[in-house]
């Protein structure tokens, strides 16, 4: 598929559709692909395979001002990334008219850390044969089943449909495990308040405030974040107290509530493996339950539930009434 894609991109550039391509380029190993913006003469560096996990939509924001009148950038967008793309269009951070979207097929992306977690280290190469992966390492070859090492976000795949595209290349496959994506949220809700508190303290106390979750998030597109602004009174570079860990993560999740497409990038990039998507999913599950099912980025121009209301909305006391304080 990669060869086909590069040929098509060359043709598109030849036709004058755009001058540059937002995609992924090869890294030092087979697994460390890097988001890149490539010109026509760099297209041989382009890679599209099972290791192109990063969501590229957010990179389009910084490209917008660089595009001249009528000029377009060609962007490779996976089905799940297309939700973030639409959401950014809704927020006027991306102008769809300036992007030629190629919906690239996706059959799930592999998480190399999950391979490592099986004690397979010194990874130098891989052979893919359907679902059978042969991993070459400094210490010999190992066999892994592809389905077992997919990125967590692929386990709650949004389906193979691109919500936006000018053309599509490649086949997609839904990789969802079929489990309810809110299972863990429900499990936490069913715990006692003390257990929940202990769970989140354990997770959030690992936070090193590297801000990777914030900076990678397509919904976190503020020019200046409240946590970077000395005039807000909450600027901090490191959590000096447990409170600041809680503060950052509550507010981060709150600021994207209603706009979060559940793309899972926050949890993917966390160097400490904090399940940050569980905070976002709590908001999503509350919104679905209290204000009706809603999927951010499904269409351009949606008005999301946190900037909307009905006169008959439930009162905040519903939180007490659900009786989960014990």
């Amino acid at each position: 598929m990669q060869r086909e894609l590069i040929e098509r991109l060359n043709a598109l550039i030849g036709e004058g559709v755009g001058k540059r391509v937002l995609g992924w380029k090869r890294g030092e190993f087979f697994y460390d692909t890097e988001p890149a913006i490539l010109a026509a003469d760099q297209l041989d560096e382009l890679v599209y395979d099972s290791f192109c996990g990063p969501n590229l939509s957010k990179y389009l924001i910084q490209e917008m001002p660089k595009l001249g009148e009528g000029e377009k950038i060609i962007a490779l967008i996976k089905p799940c990334d297309s939700y973030s793309f639409n959401q950014l269009c809704t927020e006027h951070r991306i102008n769809k008219d300036k992007v030629y979207v190629i919906g690239v097929g996706c059959k799930g992306k592999i998480d190399v850390d999950k391979i490592r977690a099986r004690g397979i280290t010194g990874i130098t190469g891989i052979d893919v044969d359907g679902d059978a992966l042969t991993v070459h390492t400094l210490y010999g070859d190992e066999q892994v089943n592809r389905k077992e090492v997919l990125l967590n976000k692929c386990l709650s795949c949004k389906g193979k449909e691109h919500r936006v595209f000018d053309e599509q290349i490649g086949e997609s496959e839904e990789t969802s495990t079929g489990d309810d994506r809110f299972d863990m949220v429900k499990k936490l809700e069913a715990m006692s308040a003390e257990e929940r508190f202990a769970f989140w303290r354990g997770e959030l106390s690992k936070c090193i405030r590297c801000n990777a979750c914030r900076n990678v998030c397509p919904a976190c597109s503020c020019v200046k974040c409240v946590f970077d602004n000395p005039n807000t009174g909450v600027q901090n570079k490191a959590a000096a107290d447990d409170f600041e860990e809680n503060l950052f993560h509550i507010i981060r999740a709150f600021h994207v509530a209603g706009r979060c497409t559940d793309c899972g990038e926050c949890s993917r990039v966390c160097p400490q493996g904090i399940p940050l998507h569980l905070l976002n999913r709590k908001f999503i599950s509350d919104i679905d339950e209290l204000y009706g099912e809603y999927q951010a980025g499904e269409e351009v121009g949606q008005r999301h539930p946190v900037i909307n209301y009905t006169q008959g909305d439930c009162e905040p006391s519903i939180v007490h009434e659900r009786g989960s304080n014990a």
Binding site: E28, I123, K206, A212, D228, P271
Partner: protein, 337 residues
């Protein structure tokens, strides 16, 4: 050479713990980080890399430096006395052990840092040799031997046995009561590790041209823009790095006084070294360049050629978008320009 069965590690740690705290790789919430040992700790000496490096033991992410109190019209200033009790840092890999030398150059040169100095003085460092380097380890480029790390004492884990060698009096004090052992198993492991090191993909990086003599050529290299393109400007690489040592000093108004504390800072952040006139690194290209120029050019040119990278591979493993120092070395190294 002394020895200790791996199964008896808890007993030994417990004995040390009677007089001093032990700081070592512990698993909590699925991640391995350095932490203070307790009998309930899940010790993970087998983990090649902790998420955060061992530098926290000497240079914690946040520490209080002084307090200001106001009473009526009087302001009193209370300096925090960096009183530290003896402690042991155990299980430090060769790369992290080397990072202490680099941090010493920064914090122990004039004007020396009393907080860091007190911790260094009261610590015993027990290192741990690597038996299974990862594909993205590249410490060998910086004169580090992962099979024989330096420290007050050094450990090798071979099968179910820990072998220990003391190199200083402090180290001797920890191991003196242990059984004597033969050095043959250790030598066999070292030979194997060194053999693997020969085969490491990044074992022979070309660092030619990364020195003070080529500062402007490196600084002005047009490749920085391309190299930094995907950078998110998060601080992951700097916070997991064992040698990053920049910090910010900030005041926190507690409502009944002010606490002046310092915390790690990252050159990747837009408000790093922000001054009244603004910032001298307006885009991510300059911030990205700063980090690598510091490690590969500025630091060695001020420190007799000592690079401030130890090749631990953490930034390679943790960068969300797979940018890293090896990509920079490969792009800019090798030539004199």
């Amino acid at each position: 050479m002394k020895m200790l069965k791996l199964a008896n590690l808890g007993g030994w740690l417990s004995a040390i713990n009677e007089t001093q705290r032990v700081y070592l790789p512990i698993e909590a919430a699925d991640q391995v980080n350095y932490g203070v040992w307790t009998p309930d700790s899940v010790v993970r000496l087998d983990a090649l890399r902790t998420v955060k490096s061992a530098k926290d033991a000497f240079f914690p992410q946040v520490e209080n430096m002084m307090n200001f109190k106001t009473e009526g019209k009087n302001v009193s200033v209370e300096m925090i006395d960096p009183k530290v009790e003896n402690f042991v840092v155990l299980g430090v890999r060769a790369c992290d052990a080397k990072s202490f030398e680099i941090l010493d150059r920064v914090f122990l040169s004039d004007p020396y840092d009393p907080f860091y100095a007190a911790r260094r003085e009261h610590s015993t460092v027990v290192t741990l040799a690597c038996g299974r380097p990862d594909e993205n380890c590249f410490c060998v480029n910086f004169g580090i031997d992962p099979a024989d790390p330096k420290g007050d004492a050094t450990m090798w884990i071979v099968d179910d046995t820990i072998y220990l060698r003391a190199s200083t009096e402090k180290g001797e004090a920890l191991v003196k009561d242990l059984e004597d052992a033969d050095t043959a198993p250790v030598e066999a492991q070292q030979a194997k590790t060194r053999e693997i090191c020969e085969k490491l993909p990044f074992g022979k990086l070309n660092l030619k041209g990364f020195d003070g003599d080529h500062l402007m050529e490196k600084f002005n290299n047009p490749k920085w823009a391309e190299l930094s393109r995907a950078c998110l400007g998060c601080g992951t690489c700097t916070f997991v790095c064992p040698t990053c040592q920049c910090y910010d000093i900030r005041d926190f108004d507690t409502g009944n006084g002010v606490q002046r504390y310092r915390c790690w800072d990252s050159c990747m952040y837009s408000d790093f070294t922000l001054m009244a006139h603004g910032t001298n690194r307006p885009t991510q290209v300059e911030r990205f360049r700063q980090r690598f120029m510091h490690k590969l050019v500025y630091f060695p040119s001020n420190n007799e050629g000592m690079y401030s990278c130890v090749g631990c591979g953490r930034c390679l493993a943790k960068c969300p978008q797979n940018l890293n120092i090896v990509k920079v070395i490969k792009a800019l190294g090798g030539d004199e320009a």
